[in-house]
């Protein structure tokens, strides 16, 4: 804010008052949106939990909302979501971090000017397009590799695509954090005879760790909430993780929370049925998980901003 406020009091004219309240109202829409999201999810979720006990929902190991015998255990969906998220993380976190190191430490400003918008394109492609790519190009290509037996719908190509989609989230926030590291630290390391590799990995990355961490959490939260890629390419087979057979996990179809919501949504489920209400229970679970992750990410990021700014 300016040092000296010369503005007329906004409350002195009727017009000034009118616009002030009009703009305040606009800002309140965002709060109302949050309230509406929470209320909408809660109201129907409460109805759902009147029919299905929260214990059965949270710890049940079978998810079958429409086919008899119906069961509403969310665990298979959560493990399916974790599978996809883990696969996407294995791709996006290292690649995103290395990309950030290149942009922040190695790239000339001209090359950075080209690369950054190009990377943003990755996040701008509609996810339904990524889902289609995974289904018709990536899966057949991976299936052509000898000894890889892929199902038509599988966790592998879906998580690769989700991974590619979230690379820019990791790289841009990590790069901001690395660029905020004071140059004096780099110069001091060079003075001690360090090479660029050492400076990048032993000085800049540790100094920017909180920002990098915050970008990881945010990207994973985005992967958990990703819908179309998994609905199209990972299929609709809810099943619990079988940790004894981790290889098969990625080669077969899984169902995430979001894909389950799409499935119920496209099934023209009659209003007010338990299956319809279960949408909101799963949605609430998803909302709580991603919301907490976003808050944590924001909290960590605010700490690194304090350190260097």
């Amino acid at each position: 804010m300016s040092a000296m406020d010369l503005s007329h009091d906004g409350n002195r004219t009727a017009r000034g008052v009118f616009f002030k309240y009009l703009f305040t109202l606009c800002a309140l829409v965002s709060i109302l949106t949050t309230v509406a999201i929470v209320l909408t999810l809660l109201l129907d979720a409460v109805d759902f939990f009147a029919a299905v006990s929260p214990i059965d929902f949270l710890f049940g190991t079978r998810w079958s909302p429409t086919n008899e015998p119906v069961a509403f255990g969310v665990l298979p969906l959560i493990t399916g979501t974790l599978t996809i998220t883990f696969g996407a993380a294995a791709i996006a976190l290292p690649i995103g971090l290395l990309t950030a190191i290149y942009l922040s430490e190695y790239a000339s400003s001209r090359r950075r000017a080209y690369l950054k918008p190009a990377l943003e394109v990755l996040a701008g492609v509609p996810t339904v397009v990524y889902g289609y790519f995974a289904l018709v190009y990536v899966t057949p290509a991976l299936d052509a590799i000898p000894f890889v037996e892929l199902s038509t719908f599988n966790a592998l190509s879906a998580s690769i695509m989700v991974g590619i989609m979230i690379i820019p989230m990791v790289s841009s926030i990590s790069e901001d954090a690395m660029s905020a590291v004071p140059d004096s630290l780099r110069q001091a390391s060079y003075g001690l005879g360090a090479t660029k590799f050492t400076v990048s990995t032993s000085v800049v990355v540790p100094a920017a760790l909180s920002g990098i961490f915050s970008s990881f959490i945010l990207a994973l939260s985005r992967a958990i909430g990703e819908t179309m890629i998994v609905a199209i390419a990972a299929g609709q087979t809810p099943k619990l993780i079988d940790l004894t057979d981790p290889a098969a996990l990625f080669l077969e179809s899984v169902q995430t929370m979001t894909a389950a919501m799409v499935q119920i949504g496209t099934n023209d489920v009659v209003g007010q049925s338990v299956a319809y209400k279960s949408l909101f229970a799963v949605g609430l679970t998803l909302f709580v998980i991603t919301f907490v992750m976003n808050l944590v990410s924001e909290f960590i990021a605010s700490r690194y901003r304090e350190v260097y700014q």
């Binding site: 007329h8 703009f23 800002a27 289609y132 958990i224 179309m228």
Partner: protein, 299 residues
């Protein structure tokens, strides 16, 4: 370059820096560059594939026909018109609301806990999964207000709420970029706060606001999950003619087609649909970039 003499080894390692060979240093540089390019190249390859597959399918007939079970008859017109109608409505809703909220936060709000709360809330809304916004539309606009499953107005409101946080954040950045001296000069001439906002702040911030809004509309046009949740029909044969008519949109149509097993759909019709969607998206974003460049030259 680490010292190559034996006597210095100990001290170099004590300083926390192991010895790094030149090879390793160069290799790491190439590794980071490869990482930076791998995503972009993968996307480029996939886009090349889809463009090749779309050849022969993407023609005038495809753009002017309604969808059809026969791949050679199928077209994207209702979805294309639906997407454009949706976009115009979303712009009508988000532009005034988003700019209004940004003006409040940048020009009126005092730095108090309420403002901080609103800011954190907006940042968090930007991170809510789009499928959850779809549930909001389903619970609020369809069930509670009763505007009907999958209608144009419900779809527009739902996706508008989804991109509103992005519009607010970009409008705020544009308003913040207007130098404070200009506001003070306006007040010095005896202008009121509203006159200052209308005559000084908004004209200066408008290019940035427009750019941000158009980019957000580009995101809106690709959203599928919210449309599915509010019960948008899988196939619409007619062009929407009222706010309460059922609407289809390009990503929704692509999703529907992608589930057809025939190769003519998988590697033909859908590819043409994807290319159409991406071309529309590219045109939208080009407009935003043109506006940005045009005004950057002026200043």
């Amino acid at each position: 370059m680490a010292a190559e003499t034996g006597t210095n080894d100990q001290s170099v390692e004590d300083s926390g820096f192991g010895r790094v060979s030149r090879t390793k240093d160069v290799a790491f540089r190439w590794l980071t560059l490869a990482a930076a390019l791998v995503g972009i190249l993968s996307l480029a390859v996939l886009l090349a594939y889809v463009a090749v597959d779309a050849i022969g399918w993407l023609d005038w007939q495809f753009l002017t026909n309604p969808p059809h079970p026969n791949p050679f008859e199928a077209g994207i017109l209702p979805a294309l018109v639906g997407s454009i109608a949706l976009m115009l409505l979303i712009a009508l809703v988000t532009f005034p609301l988003g700019v209004g909220a940004a003006i409040y936060l940048e020009e009126y709000a005092s730095d108090g806990p309420l403002t901080t709360f609103i800011q954190i809330n907006i940042a968090n809304l930007a991170g809510v999964p789009s499928v959850v916004y779809g549930l909001l539309g389903l619970g609020l606009f369809v069930s509670l207000i009763g505007l009907g499953f999958g209608t144009l107005i419900v779809a527009a409101f739902t996706v508008a709420l989804l991109i509103l946080p992005i519009v607010i954040i970009s409008a705020q950045e544009a308003i913040r970029a207007v130098p404070d001296s200009q506001r003070q000069a306006s007040y010095g001439m005896g202008a009121t706060k509203w006159q200052t906002i209308r005559n000084v702040v908004l004209p200066r911030a408008m290019p940035g606001i427009l750019t941000g809004t158009i980019l957000a509309l580009g995101r809106a046009i690709g959203e599928t999950a919210p449309l599915i949740m509010i019960g948008a029909p899988t196939t619409v044969f007619g062009v929407p003619n009222s706010l309460l008519s059922k609407v289809s949109a390009m990503p929704m149509q692509i999703y529907t087609w992608a589930q057809y097993p025939e190769a003519e759909f998988q590697y033909g019709v859908v590819a043409a649909g994807v290319v159409t969607l991406l071309v529309v998206l590219l045109s939208i974003n080009s407009v935003a970039i043109l506006i940005r460049n045009h005004y950057q030259h002026d200043q």
